[in-house]
Symmetry: C2
Subunit: 415 residues, 2 copies
């Protein structure tokens, strides 16, 4: 079963927003074995929408459309759908009642005419209930293709996909199975891994594919297998993993897309009933944000001090002034003092400290842009390492986060 | 001048990565007056690539392609381009020397055959220098369309766009002007704004367009004007703004895409030579990360305490135990004590504190999921407000950040 995703909106094409809607829709379709063969983003123009619908017609089983269903004048999707299906708009009583209810309960501003027109849908469309908004979803069929239209507001679209669209696809279509297995690695680059596993990769059967997904300091490997017999597929992927994993060795730290490094670390701390605190300088709170974004963080995460100003390292973390004067604020010695300082202050088992220069200017320390010292304190020891992480502020912080997580994970494993 | 962007990669179509490359390319093209009429993401299959190239041929002036130029076997873009242009691969001496140089200087792992094949390019292609990587960019022309192919690694592609592709487009094509003006607003919803400015919007000439870009608690309005006379366009947009801004009134806090709320606040603090510290609980370091992501943060940002555990609010921020016992940890009283605590500890002019329940569980405080108290301390006063921010962890934190920035901005304005 094949799908195409069409996202509508000038704001996407001028690069003002990133199209995360298409990504979410693709993820949901993949889970139920629907292959997305194309994602298309087009302008908010009637002619462009009509052209895209016609091009998709009968080339895929289902077309998922988002955007252009809001109450304002720049939204023309519904009218274009009406034209394409040679249909007329009729008022949908259930949708109207829902819109009125939303305004009564949740919306401070007064309902106006543009909100009322949102209750009008093409007569051939089945309305899909949008629990969180006033723009109804729509399900229409023509020839061999189903067209689903959803609003572009991400959280409304997400609820519609999960609660309405996916259950309806599952009920109405037969689908093959797609199994994905992700292997998370750190510390070695893409081409070095490729060289190591070349023989294994060449021997893969055609229905099993491998992809490399490199990011800063990490490479994800994704194995995808597609077929009709789910159990057989699972066994085949398992067999391939049994050959692959010994070749990869200790660079593997996790599996599956959701097992990003921070989730692995969070789970280890939770399972081992150990606690964590952070002393951040160059990472500026971003490492704390990484941990607290994961539900359940309060089980192991006590807190952090973002000691951005040098004075705060001295005052709040207890780093000695003479240590800073001797070694400079960006040094392994200061990183270690920050880590032991926060470990003592918040009484935790583990602590991580970062100090460095993320640029763009050289700053007080005199350290080159990109220099980052990371210290890891465990219940029995503390150490620090210095890294050179390029000269791009955002990438320096991101690399520092990944490296800190990698070093912390390697330390927690020992306890 | 019209452009189409094609991004290649199964990882996009299964939703494993968000396609930020297309967004970046669109932004860069827009700045030089090139209209992106379509973005297309396709699978890493030769047939799909050939189909996409053929479909784009002669419908636009330029096609920008990214992805599928890496050293590993799942990258087939270069071969597909060869087929499409009926061309053969030849070794490019300059590219080969560059690849060897990169390995000598920067890359720890050893060069292998797959790296060497990266020096082979279609004979009809002009090589575009990729300063940061081993996959060369390519510029080819057929019929009325230029095809540009770039690697998918974002920072390599970005440098290629800025240093090679954009200058070459500017040199070789004549283009109309596109002017975008963004108005950043907070506090009022999309349809209420639309109702207020309906008369103005209806009277807009056809070459000037308005778009609404709503996000959590904020709406961006984007005016776009297109034409051949740059000065006239600028004057027309200016004239429209002079009518629009008085209608919008005090909900406007900034202009232009880059003037997001945190940048406005950072600039105000820098200009007024005022300092800031944060005491974060439910926002968990994310507010500190927002500020420290902006270059120059050290001018005004002293630091933050992420007091995630209740004990840290008492110990590090000096919130009294009895205050927490009386009002609970999620209360305006505790938020105020946190704000004044960090203001005192780090000796700053302004301080922001957040305490709340981001869910998914109710937690110690007993506060409903979504309850967030935000306190703002200025040199002369301190106050707190309580908000109900839904029941989605990520959205609660994001809404809390936006609201904290809004309240802080309104307070700084007074000084």
């Amino acid at each position: 079963m094949k799908a195409k995703i069409i996202t509508i909106g000038d704001e996407i094409l001028i690069g003002q927003i990133v199209d995360t809607n298409a990504t979410f829709i693709a993820q949901e379709l993949n889970k139920i074995g629907v292959s997305v063969v194309e994602m298309l983003s087009i302008q908010d123009h009637t002619q462009e929408i009509l052209k895209a619908l016609l091009q998709a017609q009968d080339t895929v089983d289902i077309v998922l459309i988002t955007g252009g269903l809001g109450p304002t004048k720049d939204d023309i999707t519904k009218a274009a759908i009406c034209t394409y299906f040679k249909d007329t708009l009729v008022e949908n009583a259930a949708v109207l009642a829902h819109i009125k209810g939303l305004f009564e309960k949740f919306i401070i501003t007064k309902m106006n005419d543009s909100n009322l027109t949102q209750a009008q849908l093409p007569s051939k469309a089945l309305a899909l209930h949008n629990a969180y908004g006033t723009a109804s979803g729509m399900w229409l069929k023509q020839g061999n293709t189903v067209f689903v239209s959803m609003p572009g507001v991400p959280f409304e679209m997400k609820a519609l996909m999960k609660e309405q669209v996916i259950p309806k696809i599952v009920a109405e279509f037969e689908r093959p199975y797609i199994i994905h297995k992700t292997i998370q690695t750190y510390g070695v680059g893409e081409s070095a891994i490729a060289a190591d596993i070349a023989d294994w990769e060449t021997a893969l059967p055609p229905h099993i594919k491998l992809a490399y997904l490199p990011s800063l300091g990490k490479v994800r490997l994704r194995i995808s297998a597609k077929g009709l017999d789910k159990e057989l597929l699972e066994k085949e992927v398992e067999d391939q993993l049994n050959i692959l994993l010994p070749i990869l060795g200790s660079i593997v730290y996790g599996f599956e897309t959701s097992e990003v490094l921070e989730v692995v670390v969070a789970k280890m701390l939770t399972d081992k009933k150990r606690t964590l605190a952070l002393a951040e300088s160059c990472t500026g709170g971003a490492l704390a944000a990484v941990f607290t974004a994961i539900p359940g963080a309060s089980t192991y995460f006590k807190g952090a001090v973002v000691a951005y100003e040098t004075q705060q390292k001295i005052k709040v973390l207890g780093v000695s002034e003479s240590l800073i004067a001797t070694h400079s604020v960006v040094s392994e010695e200061v990183a270690i003092a920050m880590a032991t300082g926060i470990q003592r202050l918040m009484e935790t088992d583990f602590a991580v400290a970062t100090t460095g220069n993320a640029g763009p200017l050289k700053g007080d320390s005199g350290a080159a842009v990109g220099t980052v010292c990371i210290a890891i304190a465990s219940p029995s020891e503390v150490y620090a390492q210095t890294f050179s992480m390029g000269n791009h502020r955002e990438r320096i912080v991101q690399k520092a986060l990944n490296k800190a997580l990698e070093l912390l994970q390697k330390e927690i494993v020992k306890f």
